[in-house]
Each structure stands twice: as structure tokens, then as C-alpha cells.
Subunit: 207 residues, 3 copies
Amino acid sequence: LFLSYAQVIFSLDTLGTIAFAISGALAAMQKKLDLFGVFVIAFVTSIGGGTLRDLLIGNQPVAWLTSTFTFSLITCCVVVTVLGRKLLVRARQQLFLFDAVGLGVFTIIGIDIALAHNLPYPSSVMMGLFSAVFGGVLRDTLCNEVPLIFREELYATPCVVGGLIYVAAHGLGISGITPLLATVFCVVLIRILALYFHLRLPTINLE
Amino acid sequence: LFLSYAQVIFSLDTLGTIAFAISGALAAMQKKLDLFGVFVIAFVTSIGGGTLRDLLIGNQPVAWLTSTFTFSLITCCVVVTVLGRKLLVRARQQLFLFDAVGLGVFTIIGIDIALAHNLPYPSSVMMGLFSAVFGGVLRDTLCNEVPLIFREELYATPCVVGGLIYVAAHGLGISGITPLLATVFCVVLIRILALYFHLRLPTINLE
Amino acid sequence: LFLSYAQVIFSLDTLGTIAFAISGALAAMQKKLDLFGVFVIAFVTSIGGGTLRDLLIGNQPVAWLTSTFTFSLITCCVVVTVLGRKLLVRARQQLFLFDAVGLGVFTIIGIDIALAHNLPYPSSVMMGLFSAVFGGVLRDTLCNEVPLIFREELYATPCVVGGLIYVAAHGLGISGITPLLATVFCVVLIRILALYFHLRLPTINLE
């Protein structure tokens, strides 16, 4: 590859933002919200995870406020999603893959920022998890649904497993593109296996 | 007028706080919450928008924590609303106007603070919007209703339009009372027109 | 007692964290969430109040991110709660006491941190209240229940009364273990009396 590490992270971040903006816009249209609601849900789904992470770590003003890039990108995604909605609804499976890549990418970005603030490994994995899933939790809460994270087949687990891999590589001093690709690959793989085989974590019987 | 710009802002801020505290207290009484619940909802409605804005920008401790003014003001509003509830329920239309002024004022205050932190214009308009509407979103969520912002006739749009006017004036170098009054007037006007003519943003059909 | 003030605070903080982690884990199991969901709810219930307090005051990175202690402690609590769930469900009354002590302790810790940031007394009492009850509000919201704080007999009142006692002692220059014990005792006592005599704050009739 001819891209630097920073360029790879930036490209993946952009990809994740797009994936989540589209998934948010589609969810809002399914709930028959008006155009403003569609934009809000797309926006919140895209930036929710990163915002929570930045607030907890103390990284303020939060990233998307300081430039117009994220704002413009999400606006474009909403316009494209609204115009191309029939195509996108049919492309469910490709979108699922897209979304899984987004999960993996946001996990990595969350961990990178946490490590840059000298947080310990467990906290860093948790910041990766929060970055990846909190946008979706907000989307589901605002759309008045039980958050996907509490009902779907292994939504958070891939982020935790991927995060552990990434943090292990960091601890072993392995850097560069390899741990990044391994993490994203692992997240996508677990998501696919979980959906295909209907894997679930066990629930506990109180009686 | 014989007031300085800071005094006008302070007066309008006070007016907005009162308007939202009353609307929160009335909503909580309608839900038959106890006295504590009425106070909490009034408080959250009043300070929710500004708190979210201050957190995202990194303006901490958030404004209402550092003095007892906001706290005392909201306490007074709750007492007055509880005692004068019959009068206030009959004065729905006047309250609606009051609330619309609050929306306009909080939009301006949010934008002013964002611009003081050198945020770009789109982010500043968004901070104005958040300041204006997030208190109401919290009120509706805590009262277990679908947020007004997602169901009522143009609740967020006037703040966005007003915010664009205010930011345009700032960009053109126009300062002082004029853009302030133009913004509030515009917000109130759109709110009234929207309610009177049942204006709505279009929803998008997924099929 | 042979413990220093800091050691007493640390011990009580640990006690409160354990109490809330267990109450969160039990609530999540009752909702039949999977193991991950049980952990998330236990975690959020434990650290929710302190996190909101730290965000509002600007105490970042929030406390539980900077070490692995809280994380490990809550993980242990979840494991113990899952394994010992039959015992814990039968020990409801002891858990209630435990939870009441947690409320009192977190009230004190919230006020201590607020005073250390030179916040005025009313804001400090409010930070004590938020620290104590917000974890429970998040737990109930995520479990899709009307927050306990809005429906149960005097859940917030003991924290406010206890907070006023603690702040009064501070204002009179009384420090050390005495105001601390008085506050916790008072919170626990009001909780017990409220539950035993079904005390409630009055609701207001809108008609």
C-alpha cells in the first residue's frame, strides 16, 4: 500500500462515518421521521460513539465540532441515502459488511486515542467498544427501539475481541498496518459468523 | 434601549430559562410526578441544552454549577408554576409565545459561545440548535414521550433558520442588537406560522 | 477507628460501587439480558453517577478510566452475582440496606469533589444527589423501566437531606468522620422509614 498510517486511519474513519450515517438515515426513514429527523439520526449514529469517548477522556471541543468535514460528509450521505433509498434497501447484505467494517475501524480509533492519553489497557478496550457501539445505541434509543446491542447476535463481542487483539499487538510492540487489518478482519469475521450461525452469548436464568 | 449588549443577553437568557422551567414543570405535573419530579424536569428542561453545549465545547464546570442564580431562578419558577398552575394552563397561547422566544434566545447564546471558541459556522449553528432544543428533548424523554422535536410542526427548523441569519450577520460584520432581534423575531415568526398553517417538513417514503 | 479519613472514603466508595454493581446485575438478569448486557448494566449503574458528576465539573479523564481498580471490582461483582444469584435474590432486605449505604456514600463523595472545585453549596448538594442517583436512572432507562427515582417512595429525598446535613457541617467547620457518619445514617434512616411507612412526596393536581 502507498498510504501512510495516518492516511489509512483517516480513510477508514471516513468509511466508518459513511457506514454509520447511512445506517442511521435508513433507520430514521423506516420510522417515517421527517427530513430533519433523518439528518439528526444519521448524524447522531455517526458521531455518537466518538463524542462519548471524547467527553469521557476530556478531548474537547469534540472532534466533529472543530472542522466542517464530518458535517459535510454526513450531509452528503443523507442526501445520497434519501435519493438512493431503493437501491440501498435492496443492498442490505453489502450494507451489513460496510457496517461491520465501521465497527472494526471505530474500535481501533477509540483505542488509539485512549492509549495516546495513557489510559490502561482495559479502559482503552472499553473506549474502543464505546466508540464503535454507542452511536448505534443512541440511534436505537431515539428511534424508540430496544438497543440492537442488547438483542442482536454478538454486536459488542466482536469489538471486544478485536480490541483485545489490537491491545495485545500494542503490548507486544507490533505497530503499523498489520494489527489494524487483523483487528478489522476479526471484527468482520465474528459479525458474519454470529449472524450466519445465530451465535448468542448465554443468558442467565434467575430461578 | 438603555441596556448594554451583555445586559440584553443576560435578560434574554433569564427569560428563556423561565420559559423552559415553566414548560418543564407543567409537563411534569401533567405526568402526575411528585414535587421532586416536577423540580427535576423543570431544571433539566431549562439547563439541558446549555449543558450539552458546554460539555461538547469543553466549557466546564458548566455555567449553572458555578453560581446559585440559575438554581434559585428555577426554584422560584417551580413554586410559581405549582401555585399558579390553573392560571398557567389557561394561558397556553401566551406560554407558546414565551417558549418560542426562549428557543430564539438560546439559539443566539449557543452560537455566541461557539463563535467565542472559534468553531466554524456550521458547528456554531448546530451548537445554537442544541442549546435551544436539547432541554425539551430531555424533558420529553424523561416524561416518556416521543420527543416533540420529532413529531411537532417545525420545532427545530426555526432555530436552524434563525441561526443561519445570526451567523450570516456575524460573517458580514454586523453586530449589536439588530441581528439579535432579527433572529428572535424570525424564530418566533416561523414557530407561529408553522403551528397556524400546520407546516411540516416532508417525510420520505421508503417503498 | 484506625483508618484515616481518605481510607474511610475509599472503603465507603468501594462499598457503594459493589452495592450498585450488584443491584445493576440483578436488574439486568431479571430482564433476561445476556452476559454482556449484565456486565454493561452493572457497570453503568456503578459508575453512572460519578461519570455525570465528573463531566459536569470537568474532572477528565473520568476517575474509572485512569485505573483498572473499578473495572476489576465490577467484573468480580458481576461474576459473584451471577454465581450467587439464588442467594442474592433471597437476601433482598440486606441488599436494600447495602444500596441505601451506597446512596449515602456517593452523596458524600459527590459533595466532597464539588466543594474541592469551589462550587457553591446548592450546586454541591446537587452534585451529591447526581452522583448517588444517576447510575440508577441509567439502569432503569436501559432496562426500559420508568426510573425508580420518579416512582418509588423517597429515593432522592434522603440524598438531598443527607447532603444538606453534610454541607451544613462543612459550613460550620465540622470535619472528620462525624458528619460523614451522620450523613450516611440519615440517608439510610429516611430510606427505611420511607419504605416502611410508604412515605411519598405529594403530587400536584393540575385540575
